[in-house]
Symmetry: C5
Subunit: 297 residues, 5 copies
């Protein structure tokens, strides 16, 4: 979309600009859009996510997919990054996911734990760091404190900061739910206010209106919702998440609406590597078609 | 008001004096009064606050308002300050708001989380820092601990410290409520005792007398209440907050009473940028008229 | 009292000796006794404490009282110390109160929050620091941890440490109450064990015997109680607090018994500045008469 | 198993490679497999574990067993390592167990406490450090935070990190239980994701299927389960724990299945030192037979 | 007992050896045994402990007792050590007790708070530091964390670490109780595992068998119990505590059994200084007779 700001208009220092330029213009379609392959589900959900396509449990398989599919980046937790990324260094940018948790304990006080630092990312040759922020969780103060420290390190070292901005916890469930338009919109803005360079959100569901503020009630269609979320993010580049696996046409339609709204790109994991290899490559090709139609200026 | 102390009588070091002088005498009306434009509501309330005037969701629009309206300062969280302030550097002073929270979780243990440091403020060219203190909250110990560290950094670096001093939490609700005269007066004094250079309070409501101490019971009018609050702040300069949008005449009357009491200025956000552009400029002009009548000596 | 140890018998380093000598022998009656004026009630109780004598809300008024009344020291929180003490520097010693809290939240887990450091005290020219320890509170571990750090800084920098040793919290209420002889005696000893140079206690009430240990049961008169408390403090100098305002003769009698027991002095705030100016000076003169009769050797 | 990666394919630095090489190829069978003797049960369970064979309460006896039995390493907490290991330095590698707890308090919020640092391990001449991670515990955030710091130190100092990855706590009990295939598989992956070089797991029980995800339901035999767990660990070397004492043939069968699945080795404590000396040596000989049949390439 | 290891067989560095040698061979009976006088009860129980013998409230009296009675060390908290020990420097070794608490709040989450550091001990000329560990308390993680830091400092500075290893808290009460053989044995081992040089325990009560593990059930006499506890401590020297005041013959019998078991010494406070002066000296003489019969080799 023509509305996307140039990298030199974001108030970024040279390190962040260099790395975002590498990700957006020297990998993938090289047109300022991005397609990321997240692979931290072994921690977030456990190995059960690999059951549909057992090969996907092997990080080498997924790294290979990222290279073959022409992704703009692969997302790994520190353990896998240490032991597997070195074989693919230079072939695909690494986004080091700094925090994460298992889904075993209940989620009402959701908090994602730090496993690595921005300095680890520098050491491992990553081009960005990822951080999950649970917006609205009763544990927000510890979450924000960790994010502040990560943001400061990222600023100091010139590493772009990607925030997975997810509404979560008991209060969120009580006001619209984790993927309601209200909560997703608030989450996008929160990430922008606290200093994310890139924000990852789920696609908003405007029909989820239980106990949301009046401004989010009434007839709102999907395109209006994602437009608003992109506006709330402002100069924070926005990525839309694929989430759990769903029908192809529905996924592609959401991708089109997101890019039309001004999103910078997509971040699809399970929708990619839970498919058999060739089918996943065909799906990726269709996602790339969408991105190709929305280059940055 | 003649009762306002000069900047050289406040025991401040040269850095704080320089920056307060810039804010109070080199911007706005240049008469020692101040009109601030706060813009952290995207974090505090979410994008719903921008629904009345959708343009207000764009930080550029609000920064432009601050310059056009001749404000003495704009208040931003670190994310927006990083990505948007550079375009307006030098045109309006920046107050970097260091902490904040969403309004999703319940408020009974209210605590505002730190997102940036005083050093961030220096790096970004801010002339002051802002900190929200939830006076009376059961989480006060963590709050005071963070404020102490911010105060020490501000003292060391010569940056004026503006404390948003807000009674909040279950015990406050049980004793008068968040904007009762009793609680606002206590909040003003608390900020002064713990080292604020400037304190922002809500206008006190002397009629709210449920479970307040006897000293706050009986017939007290609004002017008496705001007079007392200014006295409690002592040599801590006092700003009165606009709060949620209300009728013009009521707002202006509170502004007049505040300045009459010896307040240094006003800090009005939603009452300004939730209006359509030209209407907001007309309202700002009326606020400036009030300030013009109460110069500092 | 002849039993009071000399400053050179307390195992103190030269910095602490110098400053205690200045307080005890170069101000006030210059006879080794002390009369302190505490003025942190604006934080501890709020501005309601100033209602009886509205002038007392102005720190300049109270500082002036301290000078006129020949006090050995005035006690201020950091905010008032920063903005007001510079005008009186050299005229009356400053005790910088390092912690404090409001009385809005409930007291069962009492904990006083740190607002300043021993280094702030040095920077501000204070001759001692004050710290409130809530003996017996369920929050004792955080309290002791902060006190340990303050004690270490005070030791390193040679600043005398005055501990407000107050029994407080749910367990104290269940065993005698906050001003029972049992609890006050334990509090005095606790301060001595953990390293106070001076301890401030409330006057003990031996008649409060509900659920106290057998050693504190039976007929014990006030003089026996305060004698025991002074003994428990050992080489930690002891100050008796005035507490809330009470009848003159009762106050003076407690002052006499305290000095007779070997206390070093008195610390009276509300009993002084809640009176009208001339009446307060007359009351102070009577307190000085008591101190004059109990010089240190 | 041929599938085991070489030490030079794990992305390790020279310090970790050197020490793992020493453990795997310069002690024990010197064929890339490992047999460890853990001796931290005096802390984890108390001296009651020594009742069957009272000599085992003496660390010298157990260190002697480790040397005689040709173990690849002995695991000690810091206290015993300090006072006893020096006599056996060079004869058997030391794995310094960094954390631990007693089994006196309830386990629903399980958290193992740190007792020593990676620097202690270096000072004591250890070749690896051990850390217990309670996967799924509600206390996970403090656990992960400590592990992150240990991992960073181990990375900096080149010391291999062995993670005891144990599902534990109320949520684990509710989903399959601590040794269900689902939980053990998740625990193995979690250790790999967060940066373990070696992971110790309990042998998985695929029949425990109460409230486990659908992917872990249905007919799964033991060999399939341990195969999957080894795959989930990826390039993190896997050790299978003996657990509490059990029948010899059952133990040996589990050992065989583990090595067949690609485990690097076994870690048997109580099954060894709770037996009388000569019987324990005979049992160790049978374990070594199993390891001999599964050398690393 | 001949079984006691020599100081050069404990894996200690020269600083710890020097100081333990001074305590064990240059004071008291100079035969490798030890008799310590603890005097932290003013903090742990309050001044009520001094009621039987009021002179004992004065630290000078107790220090004098330690010198006269030929004790191997006196145990003081930092406050008393600072103000009183300098007069007796060189005459009796000082064990600086680093932590402590009052007995006012309930004990179910027992945690002893740190009041001083190992560096304070060095500065004050102490020959050892003392630390109370509440084994089995639900607050164990904070306890172990503090102990770890103390142990590291003691190791670095060469100061012997004496651990008061006390089972305490709700879970302990539910399993045998604080002085059951099971809990005392576990506590001795825990101190050894986490790095104590010397451990102080209460004399075990083998008859307390409610809910203890089967290994601690059945007929066990006192001598068997204390023998086991000394074995569990291994190379950690063991001191047996006197506890609250009891009959002389019972106390002496426990002392004899302890020394027979291989304990290094005794630590008796209230049993000593709660007696009238001359009576206490006679009791000490009888304790010395016991120690004299059990020299170290």
């Amino acid at each position: 979309m023509t509305g996307r700001p140039g990298l030199d208009q974001l108030g970024l220092g040279p390190g962040k600009q260099t790395r975002l330029h590498r990700i957006l213009f020297q990998h993938g379609l090289r047109n300022g859009t991005a397609l990321f392959l997240p692979y931290d589900q072994g921690l977030e959900h456990g190995p059960r996510d690999f059951a549909d396509n057992p090969e996907s449990g092997d990080p080498r398989y997924v790294l290979q997919l990222a290279v073959e599919g022409g992704f703009n980046g692969i997302v790994l937790e520190v353990g896998l990054a240490e032991k597997f990324f070195w074989e693919y260094a230079g072939e695909v940018p690494l986004v080091l996911k700094l925090n994460g948790k298992t889904d075993i304990p209940p989620d009402d006080q959701a908090l994602s734990s730090l496993h690595a630092t921005v300095e680890d990312a520098v050491r491992l040759g990553a081009d960005a760091v990822g951080y999950t922020l649970y917006v609205g969780s009763p544990a927000y103060d510890r979450d924000f404190a960790t994010l502040r420290s990560v943001r400061a390190d990222a600023q100091r070292l010139g590493i772009p900061l990607v925030v997975w901005s997810y509404p979560r916890g008991s209060a969120v469930v009580a006001k619209g739910g984790t993927d309601s338009f209200y909560e997703v919109d608030y989450a996008a803005r929160t990430a922008a206010e606290v200093g994310a360079d890139v924000v990852k959100v789920n696609f908003p569901h405007p029909a989820k209106q239980d106990h949301v503020p009046p401004q989010y009630q009434g007839r709102i269609d999907d395109q209006q919702a994602i437009d608003a979320v992109v506006r709330s993010a402002g100069r924070t580049l926005l990525l839309v998440s694929g989430g759990s696996r769903a029908g192809d046409e529905a996924m592609l339609e959401k991708a089109r609406m997101s890019m039309e709204a001004g999103a910078t790109g997509l971040i699809f994991g399970r929708n990619v590597w839970q498919r058999e290899h060739d089918e996943s490559m065909r799906f990726v090709a269709r996602l790339r078609d969408v991105l190709e139609k929305h280059p940055s200026g």
